[in-house]
């Protein structure tokens, strides 16, 4: 009995630890979570990517909204980095929307895009080509595109 109990306890602990190892949230910073979400998305591991985006939202969505509320215009220059949570959560939402589109979950994708475009409109994402782009503007475009696609089909 004691062995069984110990075994159960061990199994329970393992169940908690193993996903964390598989997902490897790193230092749990928003930047790390977003980077890992991109990486998994690029590798077409959509489920893994969604765990990173979900963790990022869980930990930083409230801060992101606070940073959005404190802004009147989209920041430029070095000030972009002051809105770190806003930028990372916005990017994660965009990744999430992209994955939902690929999974043909159009309604869910639109819902995510709308949150991004309406509530985190000043979020920005660094493009390795050398500039910031706006996940919120891209999301707004995707909403319209999906709306158009639904009209055609």
């Amino acid at each position: 009995m004691r062995n069984i109990v110990l075994s159960l306890v061990f199994t329970s602990l393992l169940a908690q630890i193993l996903p964390a190892i598989a997902q490897d949230f790193g230092d749990y910073s928003s930047a790390t979570l977003t980077g890992k979400a991109w990486e998994a998305y690029g590798a077409n591991d959509f489920e893994l990517a969604l765990t990173f985006t979900a963790k990022c939202k869980e930990m930083y969505l409230a801060t992101a909204k606070e940073q959005q509320a404190a802004l009147d215009v989209k920041p430029t220059g070095e000030k972009v980095h002051d809105s770190w949570a806003l930028n990372d959560v916005g990017t994660c939402l965009y990744i999430e929307g992209q994955i939902l589109e690929k999974q043909d979950k159009v309604t869910e994708a639109i819902a995510v895009y709308k949150i991004l475009s309406e509530e985190l409109s000043f979020s920005q994402c660094w493009d390795t080509k050398g500039w910031f782009w706006s996940p919120a503007e891209a999301a707004a475009d995707r909403v319209k595109q999906l709306e158009f696609d639904s009209l055609l089909d």
Partner: protein, 864 residues
């Protein structure tokens, strides 16, 4: 009605003939004298007792035949004698006191009650008439100058007009041989003269700038039955000009002044002879070191101003004997400075160079007329190149800053800006200006006062009247004929019926040509409005914005186009240039934007009823700042943008653009913005994706209802640019594509009654691949028609385009390869046998529904 007009016409002719027969002098050939005059205020001095006579000789030399004065003085006899010696006539002014403090001679004579003063004035006038009536130089009498303007009450104005009538009658009794006239500011005195002063022979009208061209119609509207002389004429004056941030009138550049006089004389005075114009007097043959002298004078400290040469050209047709130089762009930073502080000033030459000696002066804009007429030297040190450091005046207040340069042949050019001098420690942080940024300050803003004058006088009946209302905080709106107008349009010159059927309301063109009248008429017939493009030269095509000859020719072309089409009822706005700033640089070249500003102002003076839009290739902070700095006369910024067009508004706001904008070209990402094949061929979006781009962009653009006036999709037609199907919203054979349907859905909320086929399935094994010559492939591109129409398929192979250009320049259609593809069936299947020749190709499929709609797609491949 026709009879009535005939009687009126004969009546006017008889009146004119009677007038000419009785008093009007003749020229040396016996023809009625057409007055080519200047107002004249040069007097002798102790140092130069011959100064006046020398000046009158110059008056004669520039082709004038008359001068005008405002009153009689101690030197009148000498002036008449000297003028006669030079063969000049004199319109001798007889000054009548004003009824209230005015802009010029003060006065407070109440013409309704001050009988004794009126009598004394009358005696002096009649004495002077008797004294000079027989002088051979006398042209006529100018009794009173702008008196009605400077009388406060209606009762006193009427009393004055009655008094003037009595005076004119008495003058004629003393001197029946010379005409008697009075002078009005614009035509405001005319109704009083018509009613109460019928004895006047001719009306004098003081007017400046392009408003002069509107005098004949304004005279008709005022009920005038007499001919007129333009008794003061010149470039737009200080009272008629926009004000800068400190309320200082913005002086036209020397180039603008020259143009107003030389061109204006011909177009607004000489050409109106059949409308009653008897000539005029250009203001002012003077050498006054004063703000007015700087603005309008012929000389400054003995050096000639452009007015001298412009008048000479107006009267003789001769161009200046020297290459005129002009300064523009007097840049001042900071604009607000502590008393005694340092002002950084930069001077740019518009023509010539700024390397010579440049002097700076201050003139206070405060402290009343006597104070503000002062001009004193500025303490200036050259910092480097074209930048100087001036020491601000000690007394706080707003000052004009003048920069002047004397150059060859005793000529001088001068330009102006302003600075606000505050007592030390008075400047707030927000007023401090970054001294590293020297802001352009001297470019004159809109010539709206003149335009307003033209609007008041309603010189012509206009086909349409368009204006912008609102501001950046409340939002802007276009009003056409008083009704809100949102631009739902596209660029192109065909298929207007399709646009009208599908909810569009506007088209845009890029230039004026032989087809423009037809385009406007056709648009109007379909209820569409038109932004008429006025093509401006591109540097990449060899146009040189620093070449005065090219600029002059281009200005003439723009002017001609505006005059030709400004009255067309379909006209919505002017599209001044298209991407002339260049598409491969930052687009912040001052020389281009200054010219845009010049042209915009010219257009608004010619046509105050339609806004001026200039069109650029996308935006960046430097470009927007340059436009705001150097081209403030532009009303609307048109932006051509492909990828991300729906975000232009956000970008503009982040760059602090505070005027309205329109998206003037948009659609799908251009060939320069998409992924390329391994051999460098741009991968064109599918017809379905293109429709999506148009839907998303149009909807996104029109969501900005505050600053965006609307949009023009590209291209309502067809063209070869990279491929035959990239930009055209119509097939080469004229069928509308899904892009038209998509934009219709946004404009109206509904699909068109007949929709184009939609791409549903692609099997394209050659796409973006290198294949072997002779290799066989089965291809499929299946389309569906939601209306159930029968679709026909055409498959074609073309070589990849090698005639690639930039900026939309015309490209040649590449060679078609025959015998390598055949359609298998009418369900979209085909077979390709790869061409034998190595190279890049595209396979095209064109589908049509037989009811005016169609679709075209293509996929690149390469034969190794």
């Amino acid at each position: 009605m026709r009879f009535f007009k005939l009687v009126l016409g004969v009546g006017m002719s008889l009146l004119s003939l009677a007038f000419l027969r009785a008093e009007w002098p003749t020229d040396s050939e016996g023809n009625p004298l057409f007055v080519k005059g200047v107002t004249f205020t040069i007097e002798n001095t102790l140092e130069d007792p011959q100064r006046q006579q020398t000046a009158l000789r110059e008056v004669k030399n520039i082709g004038a035949n008359a001068i005008r004065t405002w009153g009689v003085g101690q030197d009148t006899q000498a002036l008449l004698d000297n003028a006669d010696a030079e063969g000049l006539k004199v319109l001798l002014g007889l000054w009548l006191e004003h009824g209230r403090d005015g802009a010029e001679g003060d006065g407070n004579l109440n013409y309704a009650s001050h009988e004794e003063r009126k009598q004394r004035q009358r005696e002096i006038i009649l004495r002077d008439v008797a004294r000079y009536k027989n002088h051979p130089a006398l042209l006529g009498w100018g009794v009173g100058n702008e008196v009605v303007l400077n009388i406060a009450t209606e009762e006193q104005k009427v009393a004055y007009a009655i008094y003037l009538e009595e005076l004119v009658k008495e003058i004629k009794m003393i001197d029946p041989n010379h005409m008697v006239m009075s002078v009005s500011a614009w035509t405001i005195s005319v109704p009083y003269w018509e009613k109460y002063t019928p004895s006047l022979d001719v009306y004098g009208i003081n007017a400046y700038g392009p408003a002069v061209g509107a005098i004949p119609l304004a005279m008709k509207e005022a009920g005038a039955t007499k001919p007129f002389l333009v008794t003061e004429f010149g470039p737009r004056g200080a009272w008629d000009s926009d004000k800068d941030e400190f309320g200082v009138s913005i002086m036209p550049t020397d180039l603008e002044k020259y143009d107003h006089i030389a061109r204006g004389w011909q177009e607004w005075i000489t050409s109106n002879q059949s409308e009653g114009s008897r000539g005029g007097f250009i203001f002012n043959f003077s050498d006054d070191w004063s703000p007015t002298g700087i603005w309008l004078g012929f000389y400054l400290k003995g050096a000639k101003r452009p007015a001298y040469w412009a008048t000479r050209e107006a009267f003789t047709g001769k161009k200046p004997e020297v290459a005129l130089q002009t300064l523009e762009g007097l840049m001042v930073s900071p604009k607000t400075v502590n008393s005694g502080g340092t002002i950084n000033v930069g001077v740019e030459p518009l023509q010539g160079d700024a390397s010579g000696e440049i002097q700076f002066f201050f003139s206070p804009e405060f402290g009343g007329r006597d104070h503000s007429n002062q001009i004193f030297d500025a303490e200036a040190k050259r910092y480097k190149d074209h930048i100087w450091k001036l020491t601000a005046p000690k007394d706080p207040g707003v000052y004009c800053i003048y920069a002047s340069k004397r150059y060859a042949g005793d000529n001088v050019t001068i330009t102006q800006s302003s600075v606000n001098v505050k007592a030390s420690l008075e400047i707030s942080t927000s007023e401090k200006v970054d001294t590293s940024v020297i802001a352009m300050a001297a470019s004159p803003a809109l010539a709206m006062a003149t335009a307003t004058l033209m609007q008041i006088s309603a010189p012509r009946s206009r086909g349409s009247q368009v204006k912008i209302v609102g501001d950046i905080s409340q939002g802007f709106q276009l009003l056409k004929n008083g009704q809100p107008f949102r631009i739902l349009g596209a660029g192109g010159s065909n298929y207007f019926d399709v646009m009208a059927e599908n909810g569009g309301n506007a088209i845009r063109t890029w230039g004026v040509g032989k087809d423009t009248p037809g385009i406007l008429d056709k648009a109007h017939a379909n209820g569409l409005s038109v932004t008429v493009g006025l093509w401006l030269g591109h540097e990449r095509h060899g146009f040189d914005y620093s070449d005065p000859k090219q600029l002059a020719d281009q200005r003439a072309d723009v002017k001609k186009a505006v005059e030709q089409f400004r009255d067309h009822p379909a006209l919505l706005s002017w599209g001044l240039g298209n991407e002339m700033e260049g598409i491969q640089n930052r687009g912040d070249s001052p020389v281009i934007w200054k010219e845009i500003n010049y042209l915009a102002k010219m257009i608004k003076e010619l046509d105050p009823y339609h806004p001026v839009m200039t069109v650029v290739a996308n935006v960046n902070p430097e470009k927007v700042k340059a436009i705001q700095t150097y081209a403030p006369a532009v009303d609307i910024l048109g932006v051509n943008a492909y990828a991300g067009a729906q975000n232009i508004g956000k970008n503009l706001r982040s760059f602090d653009w505070n005027k309205p904008y329109a998206v003037t070209e948009y659609g799908l990402p251009g060939p320069w913005e998409v992924e390329l094949t391994a051999w460098g061929a741009p991968i064109e979006p599918t017809s379905r994706e293109k429709a999506g781009f148009y839907y998303v962009s149009t909807k996104g653009i029109l969501e900005d209802t505050k600053q965006c006036l609307g949009s023009y999709a590209f291209l309502w037609g067809n063209k070869q640019e990279a491929t035959a199907s990239w930009f055209g919203m119509f097939l080469p054979s004229g069928e509308k594509t899904p892009r038209v349907d998509a934009i219709t859905k946004v404009w109206t909320g509904e699909w068109p009654s007949n929709r184009a086929p939609i791409l549903k399935e692609i099997v394209m094994p050659v796409f973006n691949r290198k294949i072997k010559a002779g290799e066989r492939f089965d291809l499929k591109a299946r389309y569906e028609d939601s209306d159930g129409d029968t679709i026909t398929y055409t498959w074609e192979i073309f070589k990849e385009s090698t005639d690639r250009k930039v900026g939309g320049d015309a490209e040649a259609v590449p060679e078609m390869i025959t015998g390598v593809i055949r359609a298998i069936d009418q369900n979209g299947s085909a077979q390709l046998i790869a061409p034998r020749a190595k190279g890049a190709y595209r396979v095209f499929v064109t589908v049509k529904d037989g009811k005016g709609s169609g679709c075209m797609d293509n996929w690149p491949f390469y034969v190794e």
